[in-house]
């Protein structure tokens, strides 16, 4: 199996961009990624495009050049971008292609996501009666977690405050103004214990990554970042997941836990080897839970780690250094490739004001979404 290197990353800022289409943003991100990699679009042999709102992400080739390459469209909930990345990486690992692109794009309306619950295998009344909200699932999950493991409301506030602080350092972020812990905890309650400023918002943006066979990476770049593992897992019986009318009477590990273990095994690395982390922070509680689900701490340790500032850019376990979903918002198809963009900048030492000190060598990213799908990627220099 061929090893895979990331030789280029590109990002269209996340936020709101008026009439600009998701396809146009994706074209910008892909051009930026190709320029970063030093390849031309005509060098790209295969591409995977992720989106929730765009039926045919492959329409982006109409702006990049109609080269006739295979281009496959991907949707996999909030794990869409991790899926596009994995498929692009697998296309190289298989030996079939040398240069692949993964691109994600979306353009969402403001406010919580909604859809037809039947499309998620839930009954129609699940939406009509007011259950079809990802936000209330996250409220229930973190509420129990806080009860079981002694996490305070203030710690939820610290997670969001860190996200906004890091967002203020990131010119591509949606939310770029620091907010105090008190203002976060005191903002409007949406789903107890989660308040308005503890949630990410659906927004707009695009991100792209150029991958190549590791043994030819030096032709394109002097600082390749290697993709050491990409794993995807769906829920197993006993997992309590979003958009479900019921759960088994006893709980098993969430799909993130399973995906994470598999990724560490594939990479031959463990949590203590990781220098910079990107986690799915759909809400502040999700970041706390995902710290433990990905092996970075024991359940409950987050209370102390957040109080000590461990997850800050200069801390021992920097998490969501670009502001994460809370400061960037979530254009679903692009979100996971934003994580990869940030990790690549960090591992190259190009993250500017957000740079994690001490030459970080290993980066880790995790996505989680409906109806219980997790994706993990591990990168290293």
């Amino acid at each position: 199996m061929e090893d895979v290197a990331i030789i280029g990353v590109g990002l269209h800022p996340f936020g709101r961009f008026g009439a600009k289409s998701a396809i146009e943003m994706a074209a910008d991100a892909t051009r930026a990624a190709c320029a970063d990699a030093g390849v031309k679009w005509t060098d790209v042999q295969v591409a995977f495009g992720g989106s929730y709102t765009v039926d045919n992400p492959d329409a982006v080739i109409g702006q990049l050049g109609l080269t006739g390459i295979p281009f496959m469209d991907v949707y996999n909930g909030c794990a869409t971008a991790a899926t596009a990345l994995q498929l692009a990486a697998d296309s190289i690992r298989s030996g079939k292609y040398d240069i692949a692109v993964a691109v994600g794009m979306d353009k969402h309306d403001a406010g919580a996501f909604t859809a037809d619950p039947v499309a998620y295998s839930a009954p129609a009344w699940y939406g009509e009666m007011g259950y079809f909200l990802t936000t209330k699932f996250f409220g229930m999950k973190i509420n129990r977690y806080m009860h079981d493991h002694g996490i305070s409301h203030e710690t939820l506030g610290r997670v969001a405050a860190k996200a906004f602080r890091n967002g203020a350092l990131n010119p591509n972020a949606f939310r770029r103004k620091p907010v105090s812990v008190d203002d976060i905890v005191g903002s409007r309650m949406l789903n107890y214990p989660l308040t308005q400023y503890m949630f990410c918002a659906p927004d707009e943006g695009a991100a792209a990554t150029v991958l190549c066979r590791a043994d030819v990476a030096s032709r394109y770049t002097s600082n390749p970042v290697y993709l050491r593992a990409t794993t995807l897992r769906t829920r197993t019986y006993g997992a309590h997941e979003v958009h479900s009318t019921w759960a088994a009477p006893t709980q098993v590990d969430a799909p993130t836990v399973v995906a994470s273990r598999a990724a560490y095994e594939d990479a031959g690395l463990g949590p203590s080897d990781v220098d910079v982390v990107q986690l799915q922070d759909t809400d502040a509680g999700a970041e706390i839970i995902h710290m433990a689900e990905n092996g970075f701490c024991a359940d409950g340790e987050q209370e102390k780690l957040l109080a000590e500032g461990a997850t800050e850019i200069g801390g021992s376990l920097p998490v969501n250094t670009d502001g994460g979903l809370i400061a960037n918002g979530e254009p679903v198809g692009a979100s996971g490739l934003r994580q990869i963009h940030e990790l690549v900048l960090q591992l190259r030492g190009q993250a500017g004001d957000r740079q994690v000190p001490g030459n970080p060598r290993v980066g880790y990213s995790q996505l989680y979404g409906a109806p219980g799908t997790a994706g993990v990627s591990i990168l290293s220099v």
């Binding site: 919580a112 619950p117 009344w125 939406g127 009666m129 007011g130 229930m140 129990r144 107890y192």
Partner: protein, 145 residues
């Protein structure tokens, strides 16, 4: 006043002791709610109708403090919206079900508290018909029915 069930196949009603209608897999014994066409655990398509216990405990909960977008069909507007509680209710060793709670005050909800199924008004239509749905309500102390 006419009362109708929002989703007639989901709970037994009218009844003095209504129950949620779930399914039990004869192959692997997994219980689900509502009655599914196939078992999530083993894939069997022979799941049998199974009435769930009326009482349980509150495994976890949250509140819904903003008006959900469509397809929410309570007929409320942002001005008339009344927040509601949502819980994951443990019904013995059978299953946990997601359900509205009649209580939405965080100070009055607690992990492990005993709750009981209730059929409650969800919406009143223009013709005065009251549309009923299922919810769990805190049991008011020992022995109360």
């Amino acid at each position: 006043m006419t009362q109708v069930a929002f989703a007639p196949d989901v709970f037994t009603w009218p009844s003095d002791a209504p129950q949620l209608v779930g399914g039990r897999c004869p192959s692997c014994a997994a219980v689900a709610f509502p009655l599914p066409s196939a078992c999530s655990r083993c894939g069997s398509t022979d799941v049998e109708r199974h009435l769930l216990p009326r009482r349980g405990t509150l495994y976890t909960w949250t509140t819904q403090d903003f008006l959900p977008k469509e397809p929410y069909a309570s007929g409320e507007t942002p001005d008339t919206f009344r927040p509601y509680g949502v819980g994951l209710v443990q019904l013995g060793d059978e299953v946990r079900v997601e359900a509205r709670l009649t209580e939405s005050d965080p100070r009055l909800l607690d992990f492990g508290m005993e709750v009981e199924l209730a059929i409650v008004p969800f919406r009143t239509d223009d013709d005065g018909t009251e549309v009923m749905t299922y919810a769990f309500t805190p049991v008011q102390g020992p022995g109360s029915e």
